[in-house]
């Protein structure tokens, strides 16, 4: 889904009424080397962070770094919107934050390696001006400084 035509009207309206940027083109960074040699990070909008980090609050446009060696038991989600089913991520973090799957791809030689840190933002935001102008580019610079070639961007 959610194919919107399968959603109840009220959910469909809520989603379609969210303010969304309209762009004609997209920035484009070509893959600098084959994937099997690339360093990959996850950047998620699932509102994840380390246990003990400040939870995301309403309208929070900051981000949290999650060191790649953080055990799954130390990661919590403060994006708790009732708009999505939380049972899947309770069972399996990989459904939004596929750390185990990426490690498997590295082991198989399909990816070059994992970034030292992944990054997490809060999703379902109405105002994203600060993410666009400040915190998003800042996370991008940190990824670059950490030698990252590719970011997999995942929602919840």
């Amino acid at each position: 889904m959610p194919r919107l035509d399968r959603l109840p009207q009220i959910n469909r309206s809520t989603i379609l009424n969210l303010p969304v940027q309209v762009n004609d083109t997209a920035p484009f960074t070509p893959l600098p080397r084959p994937l099997a040699a690339c360093r990959v990070a996850i950047v998620t909008t699932a509102g994840l962070h380390r246990r003990g980090d400040r939870p995301f609050g309403p309208g929070d446009q900051t981000y949290r770094a999650i060191p790649a060696d953080t055990p799954a038991a130390e990661i919590v989600q403060s994006h708790t919107s009732l708009g999505f089913d939380r049972v899947p991520i309770m069972r399996d973090l990989n459904v939004s934050f596929p750390m185990d799957r990426l490690r498997e791809l590295v082991t198989r030689g399909e990816l070059g390696g994992l970034a030292p840190s992944h990054y997490s933002f809060m999703g379902a935001q109405r105002d994203v001006a600060r993410i666009e102008a400040e915190t998003g580019p800042e996370a991008g610079r940190r990824l670059r400084a950490e030698g990252v070639d590719v970011a997999l961007v995942t929602p919840t």
Partner: protein, 232 residues
């Protein structure tokens, strides 16, 4: 939008999209639209094969010579057992005889939640308030007082977290205790089944309906927003 910012900083991105209509407008550099319910971005929990197929399809987009590119994940029918939208409190009528002693019920749920922790290797969604499960009775008393219209507060609330925000964290932790406890009892239960049980059959579900009512009765938009996150 986030992918665009990262891409502009020199990172090649590939995104998983849940709402095709939005992605068509925002135009991230590369996006894979997946036909799964919200909460199932990579398909299904504990299904590494499906998760790998989704990942592979997303990573394949990195080979495209130019963008923006938006492709559909082909397996439209995959996790078809879950309703398109999560089951909400308003869709569940409370059972004829719902218990009303939340602290006693929560103490029982904590036993099941301990089983969950033993099985999950300590992974839990519980913990936003920082109040441990062993002392969570205080948070339940706080929610009960709040729902009853009292001038309730907790010393654990950080000074810069507004009251409705802390109420929401307490409600989220209570839900996590119950949802994960229920999953320890019924490991195969899907999200809709757990939600129907919580809102229909538990004292905690009825308490959170009352908490929602008090938040929603306020004119303050912060309170109303918290209400929308506690129960709909």
């Amino acid at each position: 939008m986030l992918a665009r910012a990262l891409e502009a900083a020199g990172i090649a991105t590939t995104s998983i999209s849940m709402v095709r209509e939005h992605t068509e407008k925002v135009k991230p550099p590369r996006a894979l639209f997946v036909p799964f319910p919200f909460g199932h971005a990579l398909g299904r929990a504990d299904d590494p094969a499906l998760q790998h197929r989704v990942l592979r399809a997303a990573l394949d987009l990195l080979g495209e010579p130019e963008g923006p590119v938006l492709r559909d994940f082909p397996d439209d029918a995959e996790p078809g057992t879950q309703p398109a939208a999560p089951v909400q409190a308003s869709a569940v009528a409370p059972a004829a005889a719902v218990p009303d002693d939340v602290p006693a019920e929560a103490a029982r749920m904590r036993g099941y939640h301990d089983q969950w922790l033993a099985r999950s290797g300590g992974r839990t969604a519980f913990g936003l308030t920082g109040i441990p499960a062993t002392r969570f009775r205080g948070a339940i008393r706080f929610l009960e007082g709040f729902a009853a219209g009292e001038d309730a507060d907790m010393p654990e609330r950080p000074a810069d977290v507004p009251l409705p925000g802390f109420v929401r964290w307490c409600a989220d932790d209570l839900k996590a205790l119950y949802f994960e406890g229920h999953l320890a009892m019924k490991p195969a239960a899907a999200g809709d089944e757990v939600a129907r049980w919580f809102w229909g059959e538990t004292a905690a579900g009825q308490l959170l309906r009352r908490v929602r009512d008090r938040l929603d009765g306020s004119d303050d938009p912060q309170w109303k927003a918290a209400a929308f996150g506690v129960a709909r």
